[in-house]
């Protein structure tokens, strides 16, 4: 059986790859893809902690609170879908107005 720390290590690696992509890429679409990677790392963590919890037993009718991890991951999927839709719409609009997808060049709101 794979221990918990291996899942956490994979999730941490995926999260750090996402952090690196968000901070360094010069293409807005790539930045959004890196955010998706980070959200996936969080999902792995939520489900892994749920799975390795002692209190979940082999119940035939589990209480709603015993499905915490799966429910959190499902809500995170919803948030990720909403974020991708709005973020890509913003990037397409910025590209239409400025002919660039570099987040550094979208500085209209800079004070």
């Amino acid at each position: 059986m794979v221990p918990l720390w291996m899942y956490l290590t994979v999730a941490a690696g995926l999260f750090c790859l996402g952090v690196f992509g968000v901070l360094s890429r010069r293409n807005g679409v790539a930045v959004l893809m890196s955010i998706e990677l980070m959200l996936n790392a969080v999902n792995i963590n939520a489900v892994a902690f749920w799975r390795y919890n002692t209190t979940i037993a082999s119940l035939t009718q589990p209480a709603p609170s015993e499905l915490n991890g799966i429910v959190f991951a499902a809500f995170l999927l919803v948030v990720a879908a909403a974020e991708a839709a709005v973020g890509l719409a913003i990037i397409i609009t910025v590209y239409r107005n400025r002919r660039s997808v570099d987040p550094e060049e979208a500085d209209t709101l800079r004070g």
């Binding site: 679409v29 893809m33 996936n40 002692t54 999927l77 839709a85 709005v86 590209y95």
Partner: protein, 178 residues
């Protein structure tokens, strides 16, 4: 013990897919290939969900992430293809790389090290916790469960859909029409 642990083999394959795909996403010069790597990474994460006895979540991951979100990214890449910016991939490459590596080291020391030894003891066998979709559906709509966040999530999806349409609408065309 000579018995082969198939779940461990599957774990290594899927985590290799997830991490390798993620590496491809953040390093690839051609963003269209980057979306393909994103699909590989998301598929690896779906496999990890299967190993964590959450098969419904794995199916949703493949359907929603690979089937919808990755396709959305593919469309965005093709709609915003600008040949002028192909020369520079990164801003501040080395500071952010070092920062991400430092964050990884901090996560290893702060989060993973404390649970390093104590996890085999409370590992429940996989056959005991495979939940079916009925349980998840009941948890989402039952009064003592997650019915309020469920409704908020549906509202969020509607707002995001309307917002995306409004933001991405072509303003120039509208002004010509008036």
């Amino acid at each position: 013990m000579s018995q082969i642990d198939f779940s461990a083999i599957a774990f290594f394959i899927f985590s290799l897919l997830a991490l390798g795909g993620g590496f491809g996403v953040v390093t690839n010069r051609n963003l269209f290939r980057g979306t393909i790597w994103l699909m590989v990474s998301l598929f690896g994460v779906a496999g990890l969900f299967v190993l964590l006895s959450a098969p419904f979540l794995a199916a949703v991951q493949v359907l929603v992430y690979i089937g919808a979100i990755a396709i959305l990214f593919t469309f965005a890449v093709m709609l915003t293809r600008s040949l002028t910016h192909l020369t520079a991939r990164y801003n501040r490459l080395w500071p952010t790389a070092i920062g991400a590596a430092l964050l990884f080291a901090m996560l290893i020391v702060g989060v993973i090290w404390p649970v390093f030894g104590a996890n085999e003891a409370f590992a429940v066998p996989a056959s005991d916790v495979v939940r079916n979709t009925t349980d998840l559906g009941l948890a989402l709509v039952s009064g003592e469960g997650y019915v309020l966040p469920f409704e908020v999530a549906s509202l969020l999806l509607t707002a995001a859909m309307i917002g995306a349409i409004v933001i991405a609408r072509d303003v120039d065309e509208e002004e010509i029409g008036e």
